[in-house]
């Protein structure tokens, strides 16, 4: 029987220094495994973001899992060190209130035992029990919250959040909370349009991926969110793999050995979703990160086999862009013991 995320206690764990992060077996099985076949190439892999099966990361529109409380502690540490990880251009305040409303209502509806929202006109009462927060505030009045609305609510929500303004037929990265990013800088990219902030990505521009993706995103309507998956790999379960701190975590990329690869190397999955916001007409773009160690993957034979084949056949430009060059061969060798050479079943789900 599928276990719901609600049945698991919140773990006390770290994503830095001693890296005590760990998935329970149930959390491994509910991960949104990103490969639906045995090889990988960029694609506009968008689909509607609808309530999925229980026991998957899609069971709730905004997923909360056993890592929630510890991830929020890590975010607070990042923001203390570098407040530039949260930014919002002046015209984005309304979109911040939209985001706050969306996240509060989603969470209160799907997880009533953890969150509640009571509204009396503009007088709102928000309770976040896992984080011990009980807040009365006036919707639309920034002076009644301890932070701007976008910062306030994204300090209580797993994953990074970009808020994209729509104008001139393009999307503009005009606000965001970005502390768990795979090597891109909100501070540098803020104010850029969709093509500009994707400029460093190899191959995908030539394939017309971003033009098609933009067209899809612009067509997203309120009440019909969409999603896609992206992935990379990370040494240690470090959420904050920012370029800002690359000189600090970069050396770890050379620390993978055949002896430690199973527990020290992680598949880093991004569940990206896209939500049209009602008042501002902006797009909210949450990027939620899930870690699976190579050992976690090996508990699902189909996933270990598929990861092995994807790494073997990955184009070298993509492997380099994702920063896998130091340890790709070591991972392939370790995963080969799980690959029996037989065809895998269709789709991403475990057999």
């Amino acid at each position: 029987m599928a276990t719901s995320a609600k049945d698991l206690p919140f773990r006390e764990e770290t994503f830095r220094d001693d890296f005590t992060f760990k998935n329970s077996p149930e959390t491994v099985l509910r991960a949104p495994f990103p490969f639906d076949k045995d090889s990988y190439m960029y694609a506009v892999n968008m689909e509607l973001h609808r309530d999925g099966r229980p026991g998957t990361a899609y069971e709730a529109p905004i997923d909360v899992d056993e890592h929630y409380v510890s991830e929020m502690k890590d975010r607070a540490l990042v923001l203390d060190e570098d407040p530039l990880r949260y930014q919002s251009l002046p015209h984005m305040t309304l979109a911040g209130w939209d985001t706050l409303e969306l996240l509060m209502t989603c969470k209160a509806e799907t997880y009533p035992e953890w969150f509640s929202l009571t509204r009396d006109g503009d007088n709102w009462h928000w309770v976040n029990r896992p984080m011990g927060i009980d807040q009365h505030f006036v919707f639309g009045d920034e002076s009644t919250l301890p932070y701007a609305p976008l910062e306030y609510i994204t300090r209580q929500a797993q994953g990074d959040f970009c808020v994209l303004d729509e104008r001139d037929g393009n999307l503009w990265m005009d606000a965001g909370m970005v502390t768990t990013q795979a090597d891109w800088s909100l501070d540098f990219d803020i104010g850029m349009n969709f093509f500009e902030w994707h400029a460093p990505v190899p191959l995908a521009h030539e394939k017309g991926i971003f033009k098609r993706a933009l067209k899809y995103l612009l067509s997203i309507q309120q009440g019909n969110p969409a999603r896609r998956l992206n992935w990379t790999m990370t040494v240690n379960p470090r959420l904050d793999t920012s370029p800002e701190n690359y000189h600090i975590w970069g050396p770890e990329n050379t620390h993978i050995t055949p002896e430690n690869v199973a527990d020290k190397l992680f598949l880093r999955i991004e569940l990206q979703s896209f939500w049209r916001l009602p008042r501002s007409n902006a797009l909210l773009f949450p990027i939620r990160c899930y870690f699976l160690s190579m050992r976690d993957l090996s508990t699902v034979p189909k996933w270990a086999t598929r990861m092995h084949r994807v790494l073997q056949t990955l184009p070298p430009e993509i492997a380099s862009y994702k920063g896998l060059d130091n340890y790709r061969e070591i991972a392939i060798n370790w995963l080969s013991q799980f690959d029996d050479g037989k065809p895998t079943s269709e789709g991403p789900h475990p057999d």
Partner: protein
């Protein structure tokens, strides 16, 4: 639909060729050989054109720019400013743009640093994108923001390059921010600081 050009940097602005248009007032901003653009435009403009204009010229190479300066002085522009660096000229430009009337056209010509910083200043002053023209002349040197310490290093001509502020050796990415008017620099040898790649002059 046109295909993206492999060699283009998608986050970098496209520069064009200056072409004076009907306007109530004209502001020219140039550095070094960018001044030659103004002189060559002047040849096909009416004699009294510069009565209704302002010229801000940055001269970082006084030995070689004397003929440009002589030419600019001969245009009869009542508001001609000649300064020693982009940073020194920016307060003047900011003031001019803040006091700008509707229907002013701004023309930039010169190094990418000049184009970037003057564009940034014009955007901050609320200038419409359409009221601004740019032409790239002279140095290919880049203005680079260190992603680690956020300091800006001017006149970067090598790959990799040292950060003037924190000292890290930076790989200059083909990724440009209009807001910072700078390319992004990321530590090139973070994985192994003992591996120090040689610098190549590629942006001079």
């Amino acid at each position: 639909m046109s295909q993206p050009d492999d060699s283009a940097i998608l986050s970098r602005p496209r520069y064009g060729t200056l072409s004076p248009v009907e306007a109530n007032f004209h502001v020219f901003v140039a550095d070094d050989s960018g001044g030659e653009t103004i002189l060559s435009l002047a040849q096909s403009l009416p004699d009294d054109f510069f009565n209704n204009a302002e010229i801000i010229y940055v001269n970082t190479d006084s030995e070689n720019n004397q003929s440009v300066i002589d030419g600019l002085e001969a245009l009869g522009c009542p508001r001609l400013y000649i300064g020693p660096s982009i940073a020194a000229a920016l307060p003047r430009l900011r003031t001019s743009l803040d006091r700008m009337r509707m229907g002013t056209q701004v023309y930039l010509s010169g190094s990418e640093s000049l184009l970037g910083m003057a564009t940034m200043t014009a955007m901050e002053a609320g200038l419409d994108h359409q009221a601004l023209q740019t032409e790239h002349r002279g140095s290919l040197a880049r203005r680079v923001q260190c992603v680690h310490c956020k300091g800006i290093t001017e006149n970067v001509t090598t790959q990799p390059a040292d950060c003037d502020h924190c000292g890290l050796l930076l790989f200059v990415r083909d990724h440009y921010s209009r807001r910072a008017a700078a390319f992004q620099g990321v530590n090139i040898n973070a994985e192994d600081p003992s591996d120090v790649p040689a610098k190549e002059e590629i942006y001079s």
